[in-house]
Symmetry: C2
Subunit: 378 residues, 2 copies
């Protein structure tokens, strides 16, 4: 089978390397690169060279960003070529359009690498869904923020200090907003909700990050046997669904509390299979490349994921209700005291909590908040 790779950066090179050294029967015939980077006979700067090549069955998109990735994916699918992508931003934004286009032209869209790096998470959800309804999913989906929090816990150093070191080591981006403000996890949560619940999750789900997390916050939660993690979460019930991204102060008895370094841990609950968890490297050239090559091999073996969002689930924020702690100068509406300078608001929706946090930030731009789930029941 002949395939093309779009973009020969870190991930594209990972895919190329894994296929050439470990996979037989798949040939990387063409690679799309910028005109000033054509250093390999397979490379072209013209996407039409790839799209019009009848021998190429599948296109592996490793460019990232919304455009031209969106246009190229639509063109490839419209030409009947299947697409493997790791681009969570473009899939979260255009999932419904991509799925419809793939279906119309008999092509497949494979998106394992958009969520959880090398973890077989998307294929895992799809496998579970052959038998079960997925009631909810939840997890640590961003390695950078987990690394930041884990390093804070292990060294006692403050957020800004750890972030700046992570940036100098290349573990965090120069502009870390996508990670620390929860945007990356928001995209992954939208994709996971769409696959798990069979819905085009187009609602602007609440998403918060850990930019304002301090070592004092960590110590406060530690007193209560908790550790803060950035969590993506989604649930469905009776034809309704909801999803959110927020810091959660998890009990130390949970597995999630012990996820080290830049690892991810994602969970789903199915009717008959019960709770399943998947853990692994959520990013990196080889794990992400591995996930894309797994999609290529699945396609070769005949797997054709079909995303049908016609069930039309309703977004209902009342599905997600919890207790929240706000560390902020002025007591939020309806709160009681949690600790010095921190307040507890019980039984509010994730959307209401995010609204209270926005108010808190107006009075005190250093405010932080986190959900505090009940102790895990064993």
């Amino acid at each position: 089978m002949k395939i093309a790779i779009l973009g020969h950066g870190v991930v594209g090179r990972g895919v190329d390397e894994i296929i050439s050294s470990r996979v037989t029967g798949v040939e990387v015939a063409k690679i799309l690169e910028l005109p000033d980077r054509l250093c390999d006979p397979r490379m072209t700067a013209n996407f039409d060279d790839i799209c019009s090549d009848p021998e190429i069955e599948l296109v592996v998109e490793c460019m990232g960003g919304l455009e031209p990735a969106h246009t190229f994916i639509i063109k490839a699918l419209s030409a009947g070529k299947s697409v493997v992508t790791s681009n969570k931003a473009v899939v979260a934004a255009y999932f419904e359009e991509f799925a419809a286009c793939a279906q119309e032209h008999g092509a497949a869209l494979l998106i394992e690498a958009t969520c959880g790096g090398g973890i077989p998470w998307i294929a895992g959800i799809e496998k579970v869904r052959r038998i079960d309804r997925v009631a909810w999913f939840s997890g640590i989906m961003n390695g950078t923020t987990n690394y930041l929090v884990d390093t804070m816990v292990k060294t006692g150093r403050d957020f800004a200090d750890v972030l700046s070191e992570a940036q100098s080591l290349g573990y965090a981006e120069r502009d870390p907003s996508a990670d620390i403000d929860g945007i990356d996890v928001k995209n992954k949560t939208i994709i996971a909700a769409s696959v798990a619940f069979n819905v085009a999750c187009t609602h602007d789900i609440p998403a918060s990050g850990i930019r304002n997390l301090t070592m004092d916050d960590m110590r406060m939660f530690e007193k209560h046997g908790r550790v803060v993690k950035l969590i993506g979460f989604g649930a469905q019930r009776d034809g309704r669904y909801a999803a959110t991204v927020e810091p959660v102060a998890l009990p130390n008895s949970s597995l999630e509390a012990h996820v080290p370094a830049n690892f991810n841990l994602v969970t789903l609950e199915g009717d008959t299979v019960g709770e399943l968890k998947f853990y692994g490297q959520g990013a990196g050239s080889l794990p992400t490349g591995n996930a894309m090559v797994q999609d290529v091999l699945d396609f070769e073996a005949g797997r054709r994921p079909a995303y049908d969002f016609s069930a039309g689930l309703t977004y209902d924020p009342t599905l997600l209700v919890g207790d929240y702690v706000f560390r902020t100068a002025v007591a939020p509406e309806g709160s009681t005291r949690y600790e010095d300078g921190a307040w507890l608001v019980r039984s509010v929706t994730a959307e209401r909590a995010r609204m209270l946090y926005d108010h808190a930030l107006e009075n005190d731009p250093t405010s932080f908040f986190a959900r505090i789930p009940q102790e895990v029941e064993a």
Copy 2:
């Protein structure tokens, strides 16, 4: 597709229920049961009724035990019918014969449900192996012993007390030996090693259990920040492999230390994907039934696992070397003091540790031992 179920006990009924209520396109056409239990028009007490039925493509074996399961599986495969089984004892004992028979007659052997209940562990290993070599695997593979240890930790009650309660609740067998002596985990470890390393693991691997574990032992390890779990482990390097089952005093920083109740957590390490962990219900009618139905659906979708053990890896116990603590009356050879009445032996193979434990048991039948791995590096 028409299939047959052999045995309509807890697991067989689970498979029947899941297929009839959740799966379209698969029909349970015949069920093998004992002559005095034929209460359903699909039931027969004669295996030849099933084996000679040309419409039945696949046989789901839920009987357990070595015979007649072994004979029926060979007959079914020889008749070109594929086999799905949850029977770890029979697969561990006859894996090589089953694999060869399946290959010879163009049938498939699917064994997801032999290890880890509803966890996609065997399919997970096979997927990883399409790209990576599996350097090692490790994990909590027995729900009963995890429940016993977890309940001891949470209640402070002693082993015998917790076991007797678990037996009265039906969580543990009347004869608990297979669980508490590590025989169940030994079978699962042999199967996982065979799939992960492509070797017919016929060596009698060392296997120890937790029968002699006391609350005092738990408290001793707790002082060192550790908790005891029963672990199956296998590794390969340079054409050699080894595997073992033994109690391990894991650091509290590990995820494994926090696995609650009767859950399982299994890990593998691949070249490009890195460390992957899978967590879920390791037993029970619905999770195990789910795993068997997943195998049925995989078969229907064209998956044909091929087990080729011809590479001929050598068994080499020196691949597994660790430090061990023995709580026993007489100091073992080469040991130093660990705590009052407990001794540390450094850098010995799992086989040597098991031999030292046998010696210890001769002097003190209440002896317990556990490996103490280094702190998890994050």
